[in-house]
């Protein structure tokens, strides 16, 4: 198995061509994370509220338009402060007439929904910040 480090020039070229903001690869041999426009991204980020060490983020499992509420319901699936179970839906990706359900990986408390309503999101984009139960 070759090290992912050997492929960084290729990966960087793909990232530049793709329009993606970030590329992350995890494998047994290592872990690579490439971020485009890092300086801009950091300065543009809102100052994060102080958080416990275990803060986590639910990431998009694919490409689609993010929905915080089920199309039959006016109210969002989760909001700040909600306690959620592992496997509980926290958002949806709409792809045409299909809905991909985004679920909480672990029991947690919702900090905030970070994705914008109806925004097109891609694989790995941050959707919902959570504080896993300790």
């Amino acid at each position: 198995m070759t090290s992912p480090l050997a492929h960084i020039p290729d990966l960087a070229a793909w990232l530049a061509a793709s329009g993606l903001a970030e590329l992350e690869l995890r494998g047994p041999a290592g872990h690579v994370r490439l971020v485009r426009g890092r300086a801009d991204a950091v300065t543009a980020a809102a100052p994060a509220p102080p958080a416990g060490p275990a803060r986590d983020v639910v990431r998009s499992p694919g490409v689609g338009h993010f929905l915080s509420a089920h199309p039959l319901r006016p109210e969002p699936l989760v909001g700040p402060g909600d306690r959620i179970a592992a496997g509980q839906p926290v958002g949806l990706l709409r792809v045409g007439d299909l809905l991909v359900i985004v679920t909480a990986p672990v029991a947690a408390t919702v900090i905030r929904v970070v994705a914008q309503e109806a925004a097109l999101v891609g694989y790995g984009d941050s959707l919902v910040e959570i504080q896993p139960e300790g």
Partner: protein, 328 residues
Amino acid sequence: MIRLLACGALATVQDRGRLGALRWGVGTAGAMDTLALAGGNLLVGNPDDAAGIEIQVPPFEIRFEVATTFAVTGADCALMLDGVPILPWTGARARAGAVLRLARRASPQAWGARSYLCVSGGIDVPVVLGSRATQLRGAIGGHQGRSLQAGDELPLGSPDLSPPVAGTGLVPPVVALPLAVDGLPALRVLPAAEYECYRPVSRAAFWGEPWRVTPQSDRYGFRLSGPTLTPLEPLELRSHGIVPGTIQVPHGGQPIVQMCDAQPSGGYPKIGTVIEADLWRLAQAPIGARIRFIETDWDGALAARDALDGWLSAARRALSYLRARSTA
């Protein structure tokens, strides 16, 4: 097998209906919202003729005795699988022994009146006259020809197809194929044989005014209240064949829309017929809701049916693509 732990009134096993049986004087029965049943069957990888459970009055609670894939479609309801909230119109995986509970949603605006539980393989009750649908009037089909009750055990068929990836849902057709007039759910109607026999002011009111779904509305028919429909002169007819969707006008001048448990003949004059493609919209109008009628014609009715078929075909293609990708 699934076991019913709790069951509100009038839950029944239904498929798409006992089609072709009207010639024997046997009503179609079947799901009131056949589109929701079809969507649920797609989500769990079932063929179109698989049977599910129509749930009219929550709560409803079952235990899956085997691991399987299921989906609850139709009316919105609060769904808990082993105590964890899940979403309607979504395929979900249940382990053997898992308990699914449907309850009414706290929101009074929760959409719809009937939910459908579809399970991979379908509810495998005996086929009677070509269908598994429960016909309560004749006490045939479904589970022992009756509505379900706590303690019932229902066999599941073996899945024909590998079901799509759990965690995938469909945008409900009420969102994908909306139809409303002045903010009220609307139904397209063909003028029927006696339409011209009504006074012009009644015909205008039929299209122009809202109609309320009265409490005397069920799987047999929906009695509506609104402006009085008055014929030009008294009408007397012999009994003749009628179909689900037929809008009859009894002497009081308040219309009745025949639904899927309607008897196959009747003698009241007919002012119109709700097109087949819009019957699911009426099926999901709860008691007390107001609806509107839209005049259409033969071509309009066929176009509406094509639109439903198109929605189902697109959903089927998208789910097949996901299934192929997940098994590749």
